[in-house]
Assembly symmetry: C2
């Protein structure tokens, strides 16, 4: 549509919300995005770019000259400008910074000086801070008389003479309070302060826990340096909560707009790691090769024990990873949670063991085999439950991300234990000669 009738397309797209225009670009095939950008050049402003998927945006930004990027970044709040610039290559980044107005450049350079994914990158510098001794009327006059103040705020911060935050006032309070009342009398003194170097995941948890709309960001000496608003945090909450599923399955960033090469490299690394764990399972099978040659039913049944163990382990692991991410699983309830998971595993294991035991005994007309697979299943499901909670908890204790590495270990444990318990019990119980 777009290529034939650029004017018509522009008329259709112009009234849309920036987020919808951004969606349009994301849904367009990668190779026609540049043409679309050319056709809609004047609509492709900072707000649209700020809403766009990282990968799609990077593709478009790469095609722009540094001064064009600088122009777009100059229109945006610091936090959105930083989001656009932070992923550029260093040379391009420097070129864009040089092309920016000095005050924008200083603000963005300062933001870039904080670590990636910290509060310092998320915050915006434009905020309203007033001294304690002002009245509500003083605040209203100040807001009305200063044309160049931001309008993007929901709370006002009250600071002491050294610019440390002492309280917060929601705008609804200011609106409902007579002019003569001191701001110090309506402000909430209890407030959640965000240190500038706090990880964004922790910032998101604070916002969620305390139902914040905005929060003051303070530097090492406790002075107010910026503010984070909930609309910036909502993206983080989405991302952080959603990325565990991708990490746990080893899908990297898992974005359908990610370049093929990046997706390949993230995923193949994971598959190679899993090839390693699969080899552990295979060597256990190899050890019992003679038993399998003697009774091929073992080869038929052994994947079932491993597979159900793997599923049970994944269930427990998903629960544990989620609880760790939400700060629900802490030192004080680890033991209780482990006991709980073992109980569930024992119940699950018993149920499945009875089913498969009876089934195998009937199909192979061999009740010894039924007992062996039932016992192996029970053992493996309980081990899976234990591993599913212990592995993520231990990784967390060692400051590793439990979502990333847990799966490889848990699968290795459930596979190996499944083969070992089943084949080992088969040999030990004497239904096949020992290897």
């Amino acid at each position: 549509v777009e290529d034939d009738d650029a004017e018509g397309a522009r008329a259709l797209v112009a009234p849309l919300h920036p987020a919808d225009i951004a969606d349009l670009f994301e849904l367009a095939p990668a190779d026609s995005r540049a043409a679309l950008a050319a056709a809609l050049a004047d609509l492709l402003d900072g707000d649209v770019l700020a809403e766009m998927n990282d990968w799609v945006r990077d593709g478009l930004i790469d095609a722009l000259e540094p001064h064009q990027v600088a122009e777009i970044a100059g229109e945006l709040d610091t936090d959105d400008a930083v989001a656009i610039i932070e992923d550029m290559e260093e040379d391009d980044q420097r070129a864009v910074l040089r092309a920016l107005a000095p005050d924008d450049r200083a603000a963005i350079e300062e933001a870039l000086s904080y670590g990636e994914e910290t509060a310092g990158r998320l915050m915006q510098r434009d905020l309203i801070a007033v001294p304690e001794h002002w009245s509500v009327g003083d605040v209203l006059d100040y807001l009305r008389s200063n044309e160049d103040l931001t309008t993007d705020f929901w709370e006002i911060f009250v600071v002491d003479p050294s610019h440390k935050p002492v309280g917060t006032v929601a705008l609804s309070w200011i609106l409902r309070t007579p002019r003569g009342i001191a701001i110090a009398d309506v402000m909430a003194r209890e407030q959640t302060l965000i240190p500038v170097d706090m990880d964004q995941e922790e910032v998101a948890l604070r916002f969620q826990k305390y139902a914040l709309i905005s929060a003051a960001v303070t530097d090492q000496s406790g002075r107010l340096v910026g503010m984070i608003t909930v609309d910036d945090v909502v993206h983080i909450i989405q991302e952080e909560a959603g990325e565990d599923i991708l990490k746990l399955s080893g899908a990297g960033d898992g974005d359908i707009n990610e370049p093929l090469r990046d997706s390949y490299s993230a995923r193949v690394r994971w598959l190679v790691a899993n090839l390693g764990t699969a080899l552990v399972g295979s060597s256990i099978i190899a050890f019992f090769g003679a038993a399998i040659e003697h009774m091929v039913a073992l080869a038929i049944l052994m994947p079932i024990v491993a597979s159900i163990g793997g599923n049970a382990g994944t269930q427990t692991m998903a629960v544990a990873v989620r609880a760790l991410a939400m700060n629900q699983l802490t030192q004080s309830n680890t033991i209780r949670t482990i006991k709980r998971e073992i109980m569930i595993a024992a119940l699950n294991g018993l149920t499945i063991a009875v089913l498969i035991g009876i089934g195998a005994a009937l199909v192979f007309q061999n009740h010894h085999l039924g007992f062996v697979i039932a016992a192996a299943m029970l053992i493996n499901v309980i081990v899976a439950g234990l591993a599913g909670v212990l592995v993520p908890v231990l990784l967390e204790r060692m400051d590793q991300d439990p979502a990333v590495a847990s799966s490889v270990f848990v699968t290795m444990i459930t596979d190996s234990m499944g083969f070992f318990a089943f084949l080992g019990l088969a040999v030990a119980s004497g239904i096949v000669p020992s290897a």
Copy 2:
């Protein structure tokens, strides 16, 4: 600590934020929560309960008399009161409703009349709506002179004479605009309206996409009936984004505070379903029993092909489920995404096939076996990639939740195809006699 010195404990806990008191209850062992509640009875108010994990709250609520629950619910906003009451059993719910003040009861009954997990349950009724013809000064006077208005608002809604919303004004605009200006001149006419029966997941996506702080909720005839604020949506975003990982692994609600019986029943159902899929894989192995008896190396290697296929399928599936949940994968880019995933799968498959092919040829001193496993691996990883995106997409088209059911199907496909391709190729290539 708490049992010995109730007074001391109260002094410690009293200054905490309701969310922190709620955390304290969650971290306490289940059987000591009642004692803790007794010791901290006066601190255990509606705000604390509203912040609490559903399961922990239900446990505490069950121990309370209906009039006590009614008292707590009466203090809360409608949305929080509904959250507490909606999970109660019907008899208890009725008793609580009877004990409520008539206006609270009417509001809560109306909210309960909307479906679970809809905008109607999430919204609060207390909001500020003003007529179009008012000036900023009128609004200020109205807000200052009505003592019983809510202070929990960030935007004001402007309505026409039939109470349909026509615009929204952020409080910062009202604060920065002289009294004489008409409200219609400062309001934003473009606004996101939420129909009262919209699913909460869709509400959360709207809030995220358009960076909303609050939004008007309208009934079937388009009249303003309530408002949803971002702090209520943040919980939903967290939950919805996080629950895919639990669904995909069949862990049910996956909450560590869920009663054991519920966890068991959710998980065992999943394991039984997976037992069914494992049996499909086993029957394929059984079909090739003679080949395995002839060459035990096949039994040793076959789980590797199935396992890597399973991992590759899970990766693609996680990416697809996530993209579907974020509305990123739509009709218009399905074909492109499928092609992309097949490309990645082909690259991954080739890499792993080369590794395992060379490895198997060397270990078993049989380069025919190396070729067979390499070919089977390539086929299975590509099939896994295809299944990983097709299964969730098809389930979504059939209005099923792709996160819940995809995993069973994809695993069945990768397991069966792994065994079939490997054992089938081994027989077809003649390295073992046919079955």
